[in-house]
């Protein structure tokens, strides 16, 4: 239930979209003013125009498209691999408590260490090439997808399973007709987390060891003291993250609607 907020003074009638941009616009204005009057040295805070120009430059000379493309490809590959394995393991554990008994402790131990912790280990193991990036991203997606798939399958209401048993569904029929459809929304939640984690992991691994990609653009900007490039890269990372999240949220709400229906 939504609480009526504490009685708020009437806000001038403005669409929420307009109100939402007031703050960023104000911040931008403050930032411009600060740059104009040099409140902060430009080595600490470049002006918004500089950041804009840097972004434009990156877009124009192709660096932006190239680096974003590389990052996106890595995420897609790593996420696909990681979530596929996560789905398999999650389903296996969800359907067979025995499998869970065998695998879960090792999995938990593996999941307990943050992705960031595994990166140096994997660097020594597989080097700093493309396999490292894919592995790290896959690991990041793998854990939440596995856990949510497992939880989703376990949470299938037993009454549905009983209905299936009543009609003498085979194991396969039970899985296809009852368990999986009922578990799809939580599984999708896992995929959504997985994608967010994968994106974060991409930035981590590109910061640590890469010669290209959006994370690398950040490092490069930092070392060359191009704060404008750096902040531009942050903006792009945010936009991509936001887009991922939106897409997944839309699909998720579709699935939820279907579940309610």
């Amino acid at each position: 239930m939504r609480a009526a907020a504490i009685p708020a003074p009437a806000w001038p009638a403005m669409p929420p979209g307009v109100i939402a941009v007031l703050f960023p616009l104000g911040l931008l204005a403050l930032w411009s003013v600060s740059a104009r009057f040099g409140w902060f040295p430009p080595q600490i805070l470049p002006s918004p125009t500089e950041v804009g120009t840097a972004l434009l430059d990156l877009a124009r000379n192709g660096d932006l498209a190239r680096n974003s493309g590389i990052s996106l490809l890595r995420v897609v590959e790593g996420f696909t691999a990681g979530s596929f394995l996560g789905l398999l393991l999650g389903i296996a554990m969800g359907l067979s408590p025995k499998t869970e008994d065998y695998v879960k402790p090792l999995f938990t131990a593996f999941a307990q260490v943050p992705t960031l912790g595994w990166i140096p280990f994997l660097m020594l193991l597989v080097g700093i090439g493309e396999p490292l990036k894919i592995l790290v991203i896959a690991k990041a997606a793998f854990v939440p997808v596995t856990l949510n798939t497992l939880a989703g399958i376990r949470a299938v209401p037993s009454i549905y399973v009983e209905v299936g048993a009543l009609f003498r569904f085979s194991r396969w029929q039970l899985l296809r007709k009852v368990v999986l459809p009922a578990a799809i929304p939580p599984i999708f939640t896992g995929l959504r987390y997985g994608l967010t984690h994968a994106w974060n992991a991409l930035v981590a691994v590109e910061l640590l060891a890469s010669a290209e990609g959006l994370g690398y653009l950040l490092v490069w900007g930092r070392q060359m003291f191009w704060l404008d490039t750096m902040m531009g890269a942050m903006v792009i990372i945010g936009i991509v993250g936001f887009t991922f999240d939106r897409i997944m949220a839309v699909i998720e709400s579709r699935l939820q609607r279907w579940r309610l229906a």
Partner: protein, 249 residues
């Protein structure tokens, strides 16, 4: 008992394979150091290299950033959750900003806050802040209108409404946020040790292990990371259960 035994099968097999591969020199022992070497490194690090001091430094920094981030997060989440104006004005921006992968802030924060502990703590704080704001916000918005009516008939003041109704009713949600914040802060702490200036800490230990090509050191670091993460998680769950004992189970 039987189930617990099953759980040990895979880890034991894995370790056995590791140990034999390492001893049979199937794999470069620099990549898979024998387990006794890892154990030895652990003992040596504790006794001679001040591992515990490193760990304490990491934890102290973690706690500082976590505490600041959590307090700020609760305050911000409360304001956003209770004031419609603040919600409309700031929430969309907050939602946009939080999409920037947290590690992407590292360079900017290092430049803004310089070398030393301050930048690291700010970074950890930012990581802890996000889940707390979101969950506090959700919790505030989820407060029961029915209880708000009760509060009105009892002529609660605004402050009483916040402290006696909104905050407690958001508590389960806030607890979830704080729990997440603990986990995120720990990850961010490792990140800060990786990407910001060198200082004592477990992340620094892992990086040093990689640079010196000492897998045993890297593995020791990973072990500690996992262990601390596990303990933090356990501790948070225990505190949560204690704070929320009024909830029906």
């Amino acid at each position: 008992m039987k189930r617990a035994l099953r759980g040990t099968v895979l880890p034991i097999l894995l370790l056995a394979a590791w140990e034999s591969a390492s001893h049979a020199h199937l794999v470069d022992p620099r990549i898979l150091p024998p387990l006794e070497l890892v154990a030895h490194t652990a003992v040596y690090q504790v006794t001679d290299e001040g591992l515990l001091r490193n760990l304490a430094a990491s934890l102290l920094r973690d706690m500082a950033g976590f505490t600041l981030g959590t307090l700020a997060g609760i305050a911000i989440g409360t304001i956003l959750g209770l004031s419609r104006i603040a919600d409309r004005l700031f929430m969309p921006s907050f939602n946009g900003l939080r999409q920037i992968a947290i590690l992407a802030w590292v360079p900017l924060i290092s430049i803004w806050f310089g070398v030393g502990e301050a930048a690291k703590i700010v970074f950890i704080m930012a990581a802890a802040l996000i889940p707390v704001v979101l969950n506090t916000y959700e919790g505030m918005r989820g407060a029961s209108t029915q209880l708000v009516e009760v509060a009105r008939t009892l002529t609660f003041t605004r402050w009483q409404l916040v402290t006696r109704l909104y905050l407690p009713s958001a508590l389960p949600s806030i607890a979830t946020g704080v729990h997440l914040a603990l986990i995120y802060a720990w990850v961010a702490n490792v990140g800060s040790e990786y990407f910001m200036t060198i200082g004592p800490g477990i992340g620094g230990l892992i990086i040093a292990g990689r640079e010196r090509f000492q897998m045993d050191l890297v593995m020791l670091g990973i072990l500690i990371l996992g262990l601390v993460g596990f303990l933090i998680n356990r501790g948070a769950s225990a505190i949560e259960a204690r704070l929320l004992r009024w909830r029906p189970v």
